[in-house]
Amino acid sequence: MAVCIAVIAKENYPLYIRSLPTQNELKFHYTVHTSLDVVEEKISAVGKSVGDQRELYLGLLYPTEDYKVYGYVTNSKVKFVIVVDSSNTSLRDNEIRSMFRKLHNSFTDVMCNPFHNPGDTIQSKTFDGIVSGMMVPPG
């Protein structure tokens, strides 16, 4: 499962970042931030040709030595990034996809909360729970 899950706002500031080994938090921040370039590239490449219907799932953004970074962009340009351990070969594309879908649904729920101010960082227990469910169980 994932080692880091991030939600990035349209303006490219983090709405939510959670990573498993907390001591490496900085590294994941860098990783996620850097991945935004690839996301942007992918969006701009796709956006012109297809038009209205765009595949939200962007697939593997780039591999690093230890991690694989996957991306997903909602129609409102909110980006989801999931970082997965490279050693975890059991994860298929489809599973990643479903993880993103789940994340997106939960994110939509957060947005539907009338007390949530769009643009604020996400502070929702439900969302936390969903994310924790997708992270590697510690130990």
Binding site: A9, N12, Y13, L26, H29, Y30, H33, T34, D37, E40
Partner: protein, 1422 residues
């Protein structure tokens, strides 16, 4: 060199140049040393050939050699084999090269805009329109359209150049092997020829003995070029010429040269300007000297250099080192280079190089190419066939040719030097060196094939690389650039051979080319390399590639910059590291990536500090600390310590201008300013007025309320007019108060400033020696001119004498917990008049000492923070709305005025809980604590009916001091004989009523002298409603002196009174049915007053019983007579939930002249004592109590009638007004009670009074107003409602006249004798109203209900059954009726129906006067 940007072609050309070795004799070395240069260095500036050379290729075609450069190096031997890794010396060299090359300060900035990022490169910038770019564009179509800007990195170019030069020669290629050797001998040598011979042997030994692997030689028979160096300064030119002639004989004139130098004496007095071509190469030559210095031991062993020259070299070392360190001294050192050379000598050298290249080197190369070509051609047929045959023979198995000692690994495959494959390669390299790229390419191509077939991967890769390069360099190439060659080469280098340095060479070239899309992907593994410096440089270049892509990848750029910065710092390149981090910071800055931002800031801070740029370091650290950091506590603690350390070192010892501290955050706008002393709330039994304190929250409504009270007071003090300049007194200023004008503070009274600190960190902070900073301008100086009044400030911490102006309080220690928001109250005591402005706070900041770390104590820095308060945003004019403008906020700029009176108010025996209506006596003490007399003491309150000081005339003689008055009743009593007539007293209302809620406080003499205090009694009455009541008092006083800046002062007091239920009084009045003429008194109509008293006290233990002591009344027109209750319950006691009914008669009395005078009647209940209800506490409270509801009523009602219904209503109003007037009863009832309360086994008697105002007859009035129900929401109506039909107010009309039936109660009648019994009945009609009334009496039975028909069926009215009468106002009329009975029985006579209507009105609204009660008559049969 480093500053200019070469084209790629030039770069590649310059990277691969013919290498020439130099062997110098000792004497020759000495000659060149005069110029502070060795021979190779001497030649270096002239190594580029300005003229074109020619060479014939094997097919005898002339090939042009343009712009050739040769590289001249001293022979440096090393016995150990060249390894892939750098030697330490080499590393150091590269390090120095890079670190000495820094971006220029203040160079033109280059802004790259990528998306929403604006990146700023303060480096030297070049547009992409440089020549090589357009050339490159033809080959690389994919980048053709983009517009590129590039930030050049000169240090990288320098590094690349040096790297390529110092790269160890390798086995598989020959490009940097020495092609020729210059043997240099001085003409001063005794036998130069012998010396030549020696050097020649030396060269031979180096090349062929096999002792040394490091200087590699291209071809076995290296070209030896004999140079005779002649020092012109030492003369003996003939001899030199002779030797040269001899040399010519011996070596041929193409193989030797006479170089004449040093034609200027070194002590030349005229210092003419000489060009210094060496300076450009200087740092490099210095570095190389250092390299050689590092290898000195090796040199001694080799014996190449004699000990003497070694000495010279080592003596030079310190200076060189110094030169290498700082670029400034480099310039100074440059002057000494070539001091003995004239321009002529320069020309000589240049000529010499030209001669050597064209006569010696190029022919030599040409010859060798030809030879190699011949060899290959002759060998080709044979070898080819042979190889293929063997291959076939062994079934295509891998056959490593001539592999004697080769290991299994393919990359370790070594060819012996004479192998034919290497010959091809050698030839290719030669061709490449002389710029014959076409031939080179084909040779490389062939060689590559051979190597590949032999699986010699390293060699193949080398060949591939060079093939690609030569294809690239081929001008107007017929074939496209073979990208895949390069790819394969990279792949091979990387995967198979681990030749990282070679790979780097490729990368260097390619990064320069900026073939961006290509570089980052294939070189990622290279970033993690052994050499930090190299990977740092490469990462940086990769980062630049990212930013220069068509879609600039800003974040990747930033990330790679960070990686580069990290590697730079590991490599010790601090400056570069800092630069990298700073550039990356631009991307991360303020975009919410706080963790990354903190990391970068921290690194920047550290690097800046180590680079002794502490200001930058402080800024960076400040950023970390002030940002809302998400770091852990330990991390933040580390940041803080680091910051403090850096800060301390910045500030150092100078304390005169304290710098700003970032921590803790000051919430400026929350700053509150309080003028005055902090108050003690209680002092023994005395309870001080609450006034205002900093502990209270600001409440807009409360402030408005106080403001209103103050306005009333000021109006009262100024005869009802509020002066235009009136401004409510503000003792405590905060963000919500009106701070537009400077507040007024009083000298000798403290100013307390509450500053809100917030610790954003998760670690505790310790502030100490916290105090306010202020500036003071003495009085007399106008505020506009700063020059006139010298501003005194306490900024200089040790300035003496500021205490005489303003005393500053210091808080010694102020600890702040993690993420705590804490207020500090800092006090100033102004002593002189003038203008004060509070500037900021100054304090020592330290990390709070933890238990385990005591050593942090020294980490204590002093700094300040300014209090900058921004006023509220303006929103008045259009400009204000369009822009963001803020108003003034002057709460920190008080004006100090001369001393003012200061009063304190204390309350004694002030209760906190009262029964509703309870009267209690308390005392109030006024104290003038200042040195100025005060006067005009007044008080205003939100509940004026709550208290009284007693009215002037009627104040009872109660003891003024509270102690002696313990058990006295609050009321004034008189002893009266029991059962005496109700006393009655006429009282003027003017004695009690005050024009408004403002009361003058009756103190003796009206003034309070300094230090004086006075005590006054104060009566309190519990509010009528139960619950907790907040009662506000505002005391007003002013100075006895006139014309002070502060016109008056006020003192606030707020009490909370808990009122609990006592009695409920319900009163109603009804018209007595007794006809007036029965009465003793004059006519007017008697009225019965019923008073229901109920004990509704709910507290269990408290009140045992209530006694109704007295019921009094107050009215202008009515008087209350004695009660008509049975005498049995004389003293009316009420225990819990008991109820008593009292009945009184009231009669009308003529209003005395003077309309505002009130009559008092009292009816004694208690035998011994009667209370004079007209005197102080009772009367005061009565008047206060009855005024307030009236005023409420006036304000409360508002007519909401539409105009359409006016007329009808007018008529109805007319009737109702008549009717109302008839029913009007303006009678106030005062019920005075005593309550017996047991408290702490002691019986207390409480007293109190309740008021009821009877307004109309028949209406029940209660002292407890019914609980106000929440006002129902009114439906919003969009069209006016149809006017409701005006129903005649029947109920009220029925009150117009009063009817009484007078008849004998029993009547005996002998029904036997006479069957009809006629009884006369008198119907008395009395008009209660003040208008004439028409009355209609109808005696016919017209009962609507069948039941009544049944009842009354047995008697009839006889005689006239209908009367029409008119009654004048207040007239009483009797009508005699006759009732006829048929048999004995009990009858209800109350059947006449009486209709009444005001005379003026048409017969619209006749209403039956219903007599409700039955009038029974008993008819007996006699």
């Amino acid at each position: 060199m480093a500053q200019c940007v070469q084209s790629v072609q030039e770069l590649v050309q310059d990277s691969f140049v013919p290498m020439v070795a130099v062997l110098c004799s000792e004497e020759a070395e000495r000659v060149t040393r005069k110029n502070n240069l060795n021979f190779a260095e001497l030649l270096r500036p002239f190594c580029r050939l300005t003229s074109e050379g020619h060479i014939r290729d094997p097919s005898n075609q002339v090939q042009l050699v343009k712009n050739l450069r040769i590289c001249v190096n001293n022979v440096v031997t090393s016995p150990n084999p060249a390894c892939a890794a750098f030697s330490p010396a080499q590393r150091r060299l590269l390090n120095e090269v890079v670190s000495s090359c820094q971006p220029q300060e203040g160079a033109a900035t280059n802004v790259i805009t990528a998306g929403d990022y604006d990146l700023n490169f303060s480096d030297h910038c070049v547009k992409a329109s440089v020549p090589w770019y357009s050339a490159w564009r033809q080959t690389l179509s994919e980048v053709s359209t983009s517009k590129h800007y590039t930030a050049t990195t000169p240090w990288f170019e320098a590094y690349r150049e040096n790297f390529l030069q110092t790269m160890a020669a390798s086995e598989h290629e020959f490009l940097n092997h020495y092609l020729a050797c210059l043997l240099v001998v001085s003409s001063t040598e005794t036998v130069p020829v012998e010396q030549f011979l020696k050097l020649s042997q030396e060269q031979h030994r180096i090349q062929h003995s096999g002792d040394y692997t490091n200087p590699k030689w291209f071809i076995p028979n290296t070209l030896k070029y004999y140079v005779l160096l002649h020092d012109m300064g030492e003369g003996g030119e003939q001899r030199a010429d002779a030797v040269y002639e001899d040399m010519k004989q011996r070596y041929g004139h193409q193989g030797c040269y006479l170089l004449k130098v040093n034609s200027r004496s070194s002590s030349a007095e005229d210092d003419e300007q000489m060009p210094d071509p060496w300076s450009q190469y200087l740092h490099r030559s210095n570095m190389q000297n250092q390299v050689s210095a590092a290898l000195i031991v090796g040199l001694i062993v080799c014996g190449v250099l004699s000990p003497g020259s070694l000495h010279a070299l080592s003596a030079e070392q310190p200076e060189l080192k110094k030169g290498g360190r700082d670029p400034e001294s480099l310039v100074g050192a440059a002057g000494s280079h070539g001091a003995c050379l004239t321009l002529n000598d320069h020309d000589h050298i240049r000529q010499f190089i030209q001669e050597f290249t064209f006569r010696g080197l190029l022919p030599h190369i040409e010859k060798n190419i030809r030879q190699l070509n011949d060899q290959l051609v002759s060998r080709k047929g044979l070898s080819r066939s042979l190889f293929t045959a063997t291959k076939k023979w062994f079934g295509g198995g891998k056959v490593p040719e001539k592999g004697v000692s080769e290991p299994k690994s393919t990359c370790g495959l070594l060819y012996p030097p004479e192998a034919p494959e290497l010959q091809i390669r050698k030839m290719a390299d030669l061709c490449f060196l002389v710029q014959h790229y076409e031939l080179a390419y084909s040779c490389y191509h062939t060689a590559k094939k051979d190597f590949l077939s032999d699986q010699a991967m390293l060699y193949a890769a080398g060949a591939l690389e060079m093939a690609a390069v030569s294809a690239f360099l081929q001008a107007g190439a017929p074939r496209p650039y073979p990208t895949h060659y390069m790819d394969t080469a990279i792949q091979t280098y990387r995967d198979d051979c681990g030749k990282s340095d070679l790979l780097c060479r490729i990368m260097d070239v390619f990064i320069t080319v900026k073939q961006s899309s290509f570089v980052p992907t294939s070189f990622i593994p290279l970033y993690v390399q052994d050499s930090d410096l190299r990977s740092a440089l490469l990462l940086e270049q990769a980062a630049h590639c990212f930013i220069n892509m068509r879609n600039p990848m800003v974040r990747k750029f930033a990330f790679h910059m960070i990686l580069a910065g990290h590697r730079f710092s590991k490599a010790g390149q601090r400056r570069h590291a800092l630069r990298c981090y700073c550039q990356a910071m631009q991307v991360y800055k303020q975009r919410g990536w706080s963790l990354a931002e903190d990391h970068i800031n921290f690194t920047i801070g550290r690097q800046s500090f180590t680079l002794s740029q502490p200001e930058n370091a402080v800024t960076a650290f400040r950023q970390i600390l002030t940002n809302d950091s998400r770091q852990t506590a330990t991390q933040q603690g580390a940041f803080l310590r680091e910051y403090l350390y850096v800060y301390k070192s910045v500030v150092g010892g100078n304390e005169d201008r304290l710098p700003q501290l970032p921590l803790p955050c000051i919430h400026s706008s929350a700053t509150r300013v309080y003028f005055g002393h902090e108050r003690r709330l209680a002092e023994g039994e005395k309870q001080a007025a609450t006034h205002v304190s900093l502990d209270q929250e600001y409440d807009q409504d409360l402030a408005a309320m106080w403001g209103h009270l103050e306005e009333q007071l000021v109006a009262a003090a100024n005869r009802g007019i509020v002066p235009a300049s009136f401004q409510p007194t503000q003792c405590c200023l905060n963000s919500q108060t009106d701070n537009l004008r400077r507040p007024l503070a009083v000298a000798e009274e403290p100013i307390i400033v509450e500053v809100t600190f917030r610790n954003p960190l998760k670690v505790p902070l310790a502030l100490s020696n916290l105090k306010l900073l202020w500036k003071f301008t003495a009085e007399g100086a106008s505020p506009s001119e700063e020059t006139a009044g010298e501003a005194i400030t306490n900024e200089e911490s040790l300035t003496e004498g500021t205490d005489t102006v303003v005393t500053t309080q210091i808080i010694l220690e102020f600890l702040m917990g993690p993420e705590e928001t804490k207020m500090a109250r800092l006090q100033l005591l102004p002593r002189r008049t003038g203008q004060l402005s509070i500037v900021g706070v100054v304090y020592n900041l330290a990390a709070a000492p933890c238990a385990e770390t005591q050593a942090v104590d020294f980490m204590l820095v002093r700094g300040r923070q300014d209090l900058k308060i921004q006023g509220p945003r303006l929103n008045q004019t259009k400009e204000d709305k369009m822009l963001v403008r803020h108003g003034l906020d002057r709460r920190l700029d008080p004006i100090i005025t001369p001393p003012m009176p200061l009063m304190e108010v204390f309350f004694l025996q002030f209760p906190t809980a009262l029964l509703c209506g309870e009267i209690r006596k308390a005392y109030v003490e006024f104290c003038n604590v200042s040195a100025v007399a005060l006067c005009g003491l007044r008080v205003a309150s939100t509940h004026p009916d709550f208290f009284t000081f007693g009215s002037q005339g009627t104040t009872p003689l109660t003891p003024v001091s509270p102690t002696s008055a313990e058990n006295c009743s609050a009321y004034k009593t008189v002893t009266r004989p029991p059962g005496s007539v109700a006393s009655e007293m006429l009282v003027s209302a003017g004695d009690f009523s005050q024009p408004s809620g403002v009361m003058d406080i009756p103190i003796d003499g009206g003034t309070l002298l300094p230090g004086e205090s006075t005590q006054l009694p104060l009566w309190l009455r519990g509010p009528d409603h139960e619950g907790v009541h907040e009662i506000n008092f505002l005391f007003y006083y002013q100075s006895t002196e006139k014309g002070t800046q502060i016109s008056h002062r006020v003192l606030r007091h707020t009490v909370f009174i808990c009122a609990s239920r006592s009695l409920s009084v319900q009163a109603s009045a009804c018209r007595s049915s007794v006809p007036p003429h029965h009465r003793l008194d004059d006519g007017g109509g008697g009225t019965l007053v019923f008073v229901d008293v109920e004990n509704i006290n709910t507290s269990e233990g408290g009140v045992r019983e209530f006694h109704i002591v007295q019921v009094s009344s107050s009215s202008q027109r009515w008087r209350l007579h004695r009660r008509i209750n049975p005498a049995s319950d004389r003293d009316c006691k009420l225990t819990s939930r008991e109820r008593a009914k009292l009945c009184f008669r009231a009669t009308r009395c003529r209003p005395p002249p003077g309309t505002h005078d009130f009559c008092y009647y009292s009816d004694g209940h208690v035998a011994s004592e009667g209370i004079i209800s007209s005197s102080t506490p009772c009367g005061d409270f009565f008047f206060r109590g009855c005024r307030s509801p009236e005023s409420h009523r006036v304000g409360g009602t508002a007519s909401r009638t539409s105009s359409s219904s006016r007329i009808q209503e007018g008529r109805a109003a007319d009737i109702s007004s008549i009717v109302k007037k008839c029913n009007e009863l303006d009678l106030h009832i005062i019920v005075i009670w005593k309550a017996y309360v047991v408290e702490d086994n002691k019986q207390l008697i409480l007293e109190g009074q309740l008021h009821v105002a009877l307004q109309t007859l028949g209406k029940e009035v209660t002292s407890l107003t019914p609980k106000e129900e929440a006002q129902e929401m009114v439906l919003l109506k969009f069209k006016p409602e149809a006017p409701a039909p005006v129903a005649p107010p029947s109920a009220e009309l029925s009150q117009l006249i009063k009817t009484n039936l007078h008849y004998p109660e029993t009547h005996s009648h002998p029904f036997v004798q006479e069957s009809l019994c006629v009884v006369p009945v008198t119907l008395t009609l009395s008009n209660c109203s003040s208008a004439p009334v028409d009355v209609l009496i109808d005696l016919r039975h017209k009962s609507p209900s069948p039941e009544s028909v049944e009842v009354h069926g047995s008697f009839t009215w006889v005689g006239r059954t209908q009367y029409k009468l008119q009654l004048e106002p207040q007239q009483v009329l009797c009508v005699t009726l006759r009732a006829c009975f048929l048999q004995a029985g009990v009858y209800n006579l109350n059947t006449p129906r009486v209709f009444a209507k005001p005379t003026q009105q048409a017969a619209v609204c006749e209403t039956s006067q219903q007599a409700a009660s039955p009038a029974l008559i008993i008819i007996n049969n006699a």
